[in-house]
């Protein structure tokens, strides 16, 4: 215990590392770590980055053996690290040695770039007293963000990858987002994680249900199972009412029309996938038919339209259960049915926004398109219609879909997900099968406890249901945030890097850097004291509220109308949702995007706001823009001047796109955009406040 306390007393510890690969001469690096937040795992990651190590390596530290002679001792765990640190005399370096082991085939640096399972490991929580005071910890982290940028630049690693991508969510990571009752805690961070790296395939089944807004807020694990069961029963009841007529031959005109359309399409949807392959009697093809027919029958205002089979197919592949796929499909279509309306308004709006984004980020390319009459961007129609599902190979499509879904703020049903259209009359509905939550007392108590664990005071009743405290839940506080990647998850490593300084080649440089460590931490202390940073405002929860997913009639409203809009009820069936968007200063300061196009200041305010952009899916617009921008050189240098040439060009790229490259840049641009929007809104708000003289 005293040992642990001793660790807490330590500030920065200087580290000197020698890397040996057995052949070449040893390479040295020097940096500092904060022992309170540096776990063994973090140290390993730091080292692998510092030396750009792709394979396995072992770490040892210099200690005195029993005879008092310095020898290298293996450093294999947090225990060893503690021992190494506690054995240091004041002001001495921690001396480490890194020995490379043969590089494994196919081990790519992807896997070691981001700390995935770290944030919530109990061990790191034990090590770090600050984890019980998340705010102070965070403050410190923000205040030194500048230093970190400098440091991370010095590190010879792919900064962009580290910031804008992570490996897919694993089982361990997933469990970290669930409390002991299996309730999803930190739903925003959860989405953010999926947004940055997608999900391991065998986890998709669980994660997709969560990000497709199938569940009302705050269900425990068992409650989710019960819910799915009840909903499945409901599904089969609805399905069987048309199935009975179908097999009796009592076909209504509508049923005949729909089954004809659907049959044609399921027979040619993803049939190259093993799941749907083989004869037309494949039972998965039949299940897809059932899902789509049931949806079309119970949603007369949408019915069936080509493209829907593309959206439902991955759901069935992942859920491997017809009813579950249907439930997810309803969750998805709640947002996406707009695309299939015959008025085409939603797609028109998306095209318009895509054009605006291109004009903003690449005016030259935009005017090229305008000059050549290609600025209608019709070759992007399918991209927007089925959210890029067709543009990628199936596995990649699963990935990009989940990334898109998780980019959207949670939109849980207030009570339960509707499996039929509002006002749809189903003769068989006896209402006896609807899902009811478990014991309300347990639910309430665990809710409030999770509210505390989030580290944010719960300010008000749920904005989603408007039902007051009973519904209030920590997640509703955050639940409508846009995902922004510079959060505790991706920046976990940056937190750990707080005091890190890595020297490059020569020794004089090293000395200078060593002195900068102390000055920058002093600097950070004084910056910490300043209350005016964007982040400290965030901590005091002076959140801005704007309505998300405005109905089309409100789209043309300007910034000055925002205060009105936030009190307007949404015309959509979905309840009024609120967006809180605050980004840490660190993101804004970062100079990572040196290569990114820098649009002119004046056009900033011309972009649609996040709640308008893409008619409910702003990130999709950024993905499409990225695909276009990544081809612009090829298009312009080959002087593709006509619509058909561009159409052919992009047709050739179908299922050949580089998913990783596209996602990386799209996330980057999207972050940039959200930041700009945030600061614009801040400006607007401060003006409004100045005018009101209320405070």
């Amino acid at each position: 215990m005293t040992d642990v306390f001793a660790l807490h007393q330590m500030d920065a510890v200087k580290v000197r590392v020698k890397k040996c690969d057995g052949q070449n001469t040893a390479v040295y690096k020097k940096f500092s770590i904060d022992p309170r937040i540096t776990s063994f795992e973090v140290l390993r990651k730091l080292l692998s980055k510092a030396f750009n190590i792709r394979g396995e390596f072992s770490i040892s530290y210099l200690a005195r053996d029993e005879a008092g002679k310095p020898t290298y001792t293996s450093l294999l765990s947090d225990w060893d690290l503690d021992a190494a640190l506690l054995g240091l005399s004041p002001d001495s370096h921690l001396r480490l040695k890194v020995d490379l082991q043969p590089v494994e085939e196919g081990y790519n640096d992807w896997d070691i770039i981001c700390p995935v399972d770290l944030p919530d490991e109990p061990s790191s929580a034990m090590r770090s007293p600050s984890s019980s005071h998340p705010l102070s910890f965070r403050d410190k982290f923000i205040s030194i963000s500048k230093t970190m940028d400098m440091v991370t630049k010095a590190l010879n690693l792919s900064e962009v990858e580290r910031r804008y991508a992570k490996p897919p969510m694993t089982d361990v990571e997933y469990r970290n987002f669930l409390d002991s009752d299996g309730r999803l805690v930190r739903p925003l961070e959860f989405r953010r994680s999926v947004f940055l790296g997608g999900v391991d395939h065998n986890l998709r089944k669980y994660v997709w249900r969560l990000i497709l807004n199938v569940f009302p807020d705050g269900l425990a694990g068992q409650e989710r199972l019960d819910y799915m069961k009840a909903k499945s029963t409901e599904y089969y009841r609805i399905r069987d009412s048309w199935k009975a007529r179908f097999s009796n031959g009592e076909m209504t005109h509508q049923l005949q029309f729909i089954t004809n359309l659907v049959r044609k399409d399921v027979l040619r949807t993803d049939r190259t996938q093993k799941f749907y392959a083989g004869s037309d009697e494949n039972k998965n093809v039949l299940a897809l038919f059932n899902v789509l027919t049931t949806y079309a029958m119970t949603h007369p205002s949408v019915s069936y339209c080509q493209g829907m089979s593309d959206l439902a197919s991955p759901l069935l592949v992942v859920m491997k259960d017809e009813a579950h796929a249907y439930i997810c499909f309803c969750g998805l279509m709640k947002r996406m049915k707009r695309n299939f309306r015959s008025d085409g308004l939603s797609l028109t709006l998306k095209f318009d926004h895509l054009k605006k984004i291109i004009a903003y980020y690449d005016p030259e390319f935009h005017s090229y398109l305008v000059q050549n009459d290609c600025d209608e961007l019709l070759f992007c129609y399918r991209w927007l219609l089925v959210e890029l599902k067709r543009e990628f190979a199936f596995e990649d499509a699963l990935h990009i879909l989940e990334v898109i879904w998780s980019s959207l703020p949670p939109d849980p049903p207030a009570h339960e997900l509707e499996l039929t259209e509002m006002g749809f009359f189903d003769e068989g509905d006896d209402s006896g099968l609807h899902f009811t939550r478990g014991d309300p007392r347990t639910t309430t108590s665990s809710k409030s406890s999770s509210g505390h664990s989030s580290g944010r005071p719960s300010k008000r009743g749920s904005v989603i249901s408007g039902e007051g405290d009973d519904q209030s839940h920590s997640s509703s506080e955050d639940s409508n945030d846009y995902v922004l990647m510079s959060d505790s998850l991706t920046d976990n490593l940056e937190k750990q890097l707080v005091y890190l300084e890595i020297s490059t080649a020569d020794a004089s440089q090293r000395c200078r850097n060593a002195s900068e460590v102390s000055s920058s931490s002093a600097d950070s202390q004084c910056r910490l004291a300043r209350p005016s940073s964007a982040y400290s405002m965030d901590n005091t929860l002076t959140d801005s509220k704007v309505e998300f997913l405005l109905p089309p009639s409100n789209i043309s409203r300007t910034n000055s109308d925002l205060s009105d809009i936030s009190s307007l009820p949404s015309a959509d069936a979905s309840p009024t949702a609120v967006v809180r968007r605050r980004w840490p200063q660190s993101v804004m300061d970062s100079g990572v995007d040196a290569s990114a196009p820098s649009p002119s200041e004046s056009s900033k305010s011309q972009l649609p706001r996040p709640q308008e952009l893409g008619d409910g899916n702003p990130f999709l617009i950024f993905l499409c823009a990225t695909i276009l921008l990544q081809q612009r050189d090829c298009i312009m240098s080959n002087q593709m001047q006509q619509h058909f040439e561009l159409a052919m060009h992009f047709d050739k790229l179908i299922k050949r796109h580089n998913l990783h490259k596209i996602l990386l840049q799209a996330r980057r641009l999207f972050t940039d955009y959200l930041k700009t929007q945030q600061s614009l809104q801040d400006e607007a708000e401060s003006h409004a406040e100045d005018g009101a003289h209320n405070f």
Binding site: K264, Q306, F379
Partner: protein, 216 residues
């Protein structure tokens, strides 16, 4: 700029659009024609795609630019984008599906209204390999085609029956039409040949206008 259109072999650039209900076999027909491929489970078309084919008919060379459109009713609104300035349209139905034949009639009406008689029409009954399930009789279809000045063909993209003929016949008629329009224009203003329809270029006489560099 002295023009001698008499002896030069001519190149025609023709735009052809395929229209018709979803799943009648438009994509299959084009793929069969252009790449001689057939895929039983080819995915539905959600966005018009563009293919080209070159052919020589007598002393004429023809570059066909073919737009294969999305068939389902919901995409109907996009039709005009692809059929405007088309020289020819191929309207396809599935011989086993009477509804799809009705759709052909709707398209004919729309095209006549929007483009008049400038556009050459071909009506195709596809999937003749499914003769047993036929729902549209040959006589009805032929009569109808004649009544609207269209040619009628029966094809099977699956068995590659009649596909080549469709495009050959349509190309011939588009050449005739182009010649006719040329003659009319010459008659109107013999001196200003340059205002002739943009789809005729002289091979020998390359104008000084910028030539596109080869595409990737």
């Amino acid at each position: 700029m002295a023009a001698s259109a008499v002896a030069s072999p001519r190149v025609h650039d023709f735009k052809v659009v395929l229209l018709g209900e979803g799943c009648v076999g438009k994509t299959s027909l084009v793929l069969r024609y252009v790449e001689n491929k057939f895929n039983e489970k080819h995915e539905s078309t959600l966005q018009a795609s563009f293919l080209t084919k070159k052919l020589t008919i007598g002393n004429r060379r023809v570059n066909l630019s073919i737009w294969d459109t999305a068939g389902q009713e919901r995409f109907h609104a996009l039709g005009p984008i692809y059929y405007r300035d088309s020289n020819g349209a191929i309207l396809t139905y599935d011989i086993t599906d009477d509804d799809s034949f009705q759709k052909v009639k709707n398209w004919v009406k729309e095209l006549k209204k929007m483009l008049g008689t400038d556009i050459m029409l071909t009506i195709i009954g596809n999937k003749t390999d499914l003769e047993k399930q036929r729902n549209v009789s040959v006589e009805t279809a032929e009569q109808y085609a004649e009544s609207v000045g269209a040619t009628h063909f029966q094809t099977s993209a699956k068995l590659n029956r009649g596909v080549e003929e469709v495009f050959l016949d349509l190309s011939r008629r588009m050449i005739e039409q182009a010649d006719k329009q040329d003659a009319e224009k010459r008659a109107l203003s013999p001196s200003s040949r340059s205002t002739a329809a943009g789809n005729v270029v002289l091979l020998e006489e390359t104008p000084a206008a910028p030539i596109k560099s080869g595409c990737c």
